[in-house]
Symmetry: C5
Subunit: 99 residues, 5 copies
C-alpha cells in the first residue's frame, strides 16, 4: 500500500453503471522518505470518508476491489484508510493534520 | 484510475473471438498536474461511448474486466467514464470540452 | 492493451505442463507515437496465429488468461489480435504490412 | 517476490473494516545486488510476526491476498517470510541479523 | 513472460505456511536484446527444477499462481520453463548452456 494526499475530485456523468454513487477523488502520492508530494495525481475511489487535505492509505490492482463498497467495480485504486500516525525507526514522522 | 484523451482507433480483423464487437480506441495519458498529454498512447476498450477528443477515466489490470461489457474479455485497459469536471484544491482545473 | 511486433520465438522443453502446445513468441513493443520499436523484447503466447513481422495487440496481467486458449495457464502476456489499421486524429498512421 | 527491510509502522483508525486487527508496517526495498536500501518506503501487512530491522520477503498484487490472514483483504503488499540467508553464485551474501 | 538467469537461493524458516516446501530462487533479468543481465535480482519460486546458471522463463502477477504447484500460494514470480533456444529474425540468438 502507498500513502497519498487528497487534493481534489472528479465528476463523470456518463460512466459505467457500477460506478454510480461512488466518490471519485484526486490524490497525489506522498513519498514516505520526505512526506512530500511526489509523482503525478491519480483518481481513486473513497471507501472511508476521506476529505481534501487528508493523508490516506490506498491499495491498487485487484485488491482495490476487495472492500464491501468496491466489490466487482471497475476501480484500480481504492482509499482504504485515513492515516493517523507513521513511525519510522522509533520516531514519529507523521501525525494526522501535520501535512 | 487515470485520465486519458481519446485520439484514435484500432482495427483488428483476426482477433480473439471474445473481442468481437468491442470498440478499440487509442488513448494518450493526460497528466493531472498540467492537463497535458504525457507518455505513450495505448489501446483501450470503450464501454461508455467515448469519442475522439474526449477526456476519459480508465482503469487497468483485472479491474478492466469488471464491467458488464468486458467480463471475461482479454482486455487490460477499459474506459469507464467520460470526465465532466476535475476540481483540485477548490479550483476547477478541467471542464469537459476545454482540452 | 499495447502494440508489439513479432520478432522471434522461444523453445522450452522442460516447462510447466499447462504450457504444452502453446506457441511462445518474442515480441518487441511498438510505440504508437512513432510506430518504431521501443523497449525490451518479451515473451508472449500466441492465440491468433501471428507470424514474424506482424504487428499485434497484446494484453497483460490476469487478462492474458481471459482467452479460450490461455484459461488457467501461467502466462502474463497474450497476443489477442493482429492489427490491420491504426487511425490517429483522423489520419491512417498504420496499415498492416507497412512496418 | 522482493526483499525489504522493516523500518516502521502505520496507524489508521478510520479504515476499511476488513483491515481491523492487521499490523501495518513500513518497509523499504532492499536491492539484492548490494543489499542496501533502494527506492521509496511502502506500507505492507505482516503475516509472519516481522519486527523492525528484519529483512523480509514480500509479494504484491493479488498474490498478497493468498495467505490465511489476508484472504479478501484490500492489501497489495504482504510480508510472507523472514529471510534467514541469501546465497548468490555459491556465496552467502546475507545472513539474518547482518543488516 | 520474461527471461531471467538463476543466480542463487533464499532460505526463510519463519514464513507463510503455504510456502512450505517451495524452492525459492534468486533470479536476475536477462535482456533479450543483448542476452546480458539487466536490472535487479528478485526472488522467484521454481516449478520446473531449474538450477543455478540456467536461463528460465518466468511469469508474474496472478498468473504466477496458475501452476499446479503454486495454486493459492502467495507468490508473484514463478519459473515456468527452462529455455532451450531463442530465435530472433531467423537467427539463433540463444542456445541452452551458452550463457
Amino acid at each position: 500500500m502507498q500513502l497519498a494526499k487528497i487534493i481534489g475530485s472528479v465528476v463523470s456523468t456518463r460512466k459505467c453503471d457500477r460506478l454510480e454513487g461512488m466518490k471519485l477523488l484526486v490524490a497525489i502520492p506522498i513519498d514516505m522518505d520526505t512526506f512530500e508530494e511526489k509523482g503525478s495525481p491519480f483518481v481513486t475511489v473513497d471507501t472511508v470518508g476521506a476529505g481534501e487535505g487528508e493523508i490516506v492509505m490506498w491499495c491498487g490492482g485487484s485488491s482495490s476491489r476487495a472492500t464491501e463498497m468496491t466489490t466487482n467495480k471497475p476501480v484500480d485504486a481504492t482509499i482504504i484508510g485515513i492515516v493517523d500516525n507513521v513511525d519510522i525507526l522509533g520516531k514519529r514522522v507523521f501525525t494526522k493534520g501535520a501535512l
